[in-house]
């Protein structure tokens, strides 16, 4: 009998976690509960919900969330706590692990229960290798977006639980939503990404055009958001950026460093345009065009009728 508790600050991930929980708990009986904070979010299909409430809003604060989830887990015996792998999720998982003296598995998929141990598979060494890792129960596991399908159905039962108010000590002074959401990139089926091959910020309009023509989203490699500051960090795809697995990832003017490839290697089809025949991106692409992006992209746009 294994109980599974799930939580994510991302609605999309929250749904996927219930599929994950179902797949683990399937053979092992036990309760599966997804945790929502402050109020039940609309449109997130899932099963039984435990709604946690407190004197102060819990959402957005790592310690408050962790302590609330920890409270919720007390009603279960040696549970598996699945946390959606977002930046906030990592912070929550870290807090939970220390509070419960539990192991935390990071960015694992293919979760299985094996003789009282939760096992999963994660990327290591910037995606060059896969590691199968395991932990006895109770434990925390961070699950990335896209590892599990979105379940059908809607909220079954909703039970409320009041948890003590806790202060993390971090005060939120101002919040500004990003232009594009990392979460949008994660769910995009087509992504067109720009790299250092572009000479000016204005030239990125080519990428925007192409993304639109293909019905996809725009992304970028790290230099464009960090060194050059042409785009916000939410566009950055890679090991420390967004991890994506679209049907088509088209890398334009991107050399293909390991750190970037770590974020795209599970894409269904990878295509690349780069003028350097030796660029590492061609080692991980299904289709590569060796050529000047300033000529190839307009040609592609013309074919798409968007030139």
């Amino acid at each position: 009998m294994t109980d599974v508790l799930t939580f994510s600050d991302s609605p999309q991930l929250a749904g996927e976690l219930t599929s994950a929980a179902a797949s683990i708990a399937a053979g092992a009986g036990g309760t599966v509960l997804s945790v929502e904070l402050d109020n039940v979010r609309e449109g997130v299909p899932r099963g039984p919900v435990l709604l946690l409430k407190s004197a102060n809003p819990i959402t957005g604060d790592d310690l408050r969330i962790a302590s609330a989830v920890s409270e919720a887990s007390k009603r279960m015996s040696s549970p598996i706590i699945l946390i959606g792998s977002t930046k906030l999720g990592r912070m929550v998982a870290g807090r939970l692990a220390v509070a419960g003296r539990m192991c935390a598995l990071a960015d694992v998929r293919d979760l299985k229960l094996d003789s009282g141990m939760l096992t999963g598979v994660r990327d290591v060494y910037a995606g060059k290798f896969n590691a199968k890792v395991g932990s006895p129960l109770p434990c925390v596991a961070l699950v990335p977006q896209g590892a599990y399908p979105s379940p059908g159905g809607s909220a079954a039962t909703v039970e409320e639980l009041v948890v003590p108010a806790v202060s993390s000590g971090v005060r939120r002074v101002q919040t500004k939503p990003s232009q594009t959401s990392a979460l949008d990139l994660r769910s995009a089926k087509v992504i067109v990404a720009a790299g250092r091959g572009f000479k000016t910020k204005e030239d990125l309009a080519l990428v925007e055009k192409l993304a639109r023509a293909l019905g996809g989203a725009m992304g970028a490699s790290r230099p464009l958001s960090s060194d050059l500051g042409w785009l916000g960090e939410e566009y950055h795809i890679g090991l420390t950026g967004v991890y994506v697995r679209p049907n088509l990832y088209l890398a334009i003017g991107i050399s293909g460093q390991l750190q970037h490839v770590a974020g795209i290697k599970d894409s269904k089809v990878i295509a690349a345009i780069n003028k350097d025949r030796q660029a590492p991106i061609f080692q991980v692409a299904d289709y590569g065009v060796v050529g000047d992006l300033y000529q190839v992209v307009p040609a592609l746009l013309k074919i798409l009728g968007a030139g």
Partner: protein, 253 residues
């Protein structure tokens, strides 16, 4: 101000090769300071430059790990603490021993780290250290400002950026966008060996909260890259047409 920065002597993933069975050749593998730790060290140095005080760099052991500490000293840190430990500690144990060292060798006003290690990225050690030390945690800071007895930061989360602050002592993880790390001069590298480096074994740091290492690494295997690697070279219009046809055929556009 007493600033601490934690660095990891990480496996150089670019240089890591697989053996014939597909497992990583870890024995004798090249290692270096984890890529984004330089940004954390740089930020610690900048805080010292604006507020005065000292910067202590800490690292938990692995073979040759003092090399990364020396690099941090060369960049400008004042002293180093080398924690010797077995190499199979997980994030929970790592964060525990780092927090013990921070408590014993502190008190520190600010503890900085990178958002995650370049070899086994998880982003867990930072919030865990905050957990062990009962301190606030600010994650993914792209700007850090110490003002009096509090620290303010601009943080970038998945779909928003926030301005936050917290009282010191505080643990902060920084993203690589925060700064451009300085390159130590040859002279600074030569002088780094004169700066104090203290070695402690993790055994000496244990108290009754010490966690067991329960994470098991069951297997590590090279990821196979099964890509078609079809290359189109030639006039741009032709290549664009060929690419379009191929992607059409794949059903992705």
């Amino acid at each position: 101000m007493n600033v601490a920065v934690c660095v990891k002597h990480a496996i150089d993933e670019g240089e890591l090769r697989a053996d014939p069975s597909g497992r990583p050749q870890l024995q004798g593998a090249q290692a270096k300071m984890s890529t984004f730790d330089r940004n954390a060290v740089e930020e610690a140095l900048r805080v010292r430059e604006s507020k005065g005080g000292t910067v202590t760099v800490l690292s938990l052991g692995s073979p040759d790990w003092k090399k990364s500490l020396k690099e941090a000293l060369a960049m400008g840190c004042d002293r180093a603490i080398a924690l010797s430990s077995p190499s199979d500690l997980d994030a929970l144990a790592t964060s525990y021993y780092l927090s013990r060292a921070l408590q014993q060798k502190g008190p520190f006003d600010l503890v900085l780290l990178s958002e995650g290690a370049s070899d086994t990225y998880s982003g867990l050690v930072g919030p865990m250290i905050a957990g062990w030390m009962d301190a606030p945690f600010i994650g993914y800071a792209r700007k850090v400002q110490v003002e009096g007895s509090s620290v303010g930061a601009e943080v970038s989360l998945d779909d928003k950026t926030e301005r936050v602050d917290a009282a010191l002592p505080c643990v902060v993880s920084v993203v690589s966008e925060i700064n451009s790390p300085r390159y130590p001069t040859l002279l600074q590298i030569m002088q780094a060996s004169k700066k104090p480096m203290e070695e402690l074994s993790v055994d000496s740091l244990r108290d009754d909260r010490a966690p067991q290492v329960t994470l098991k690494v069951l297997d590590v295997a090279a990821q196979s890259v099964n890509r078609k690697k079809v290359i189109y070279e030639g006039p741009p219009e032709e290549s664009a047409r060929k690419l379009f046809d191929a992607l059409r055929k794949e059903g992705v556009i």
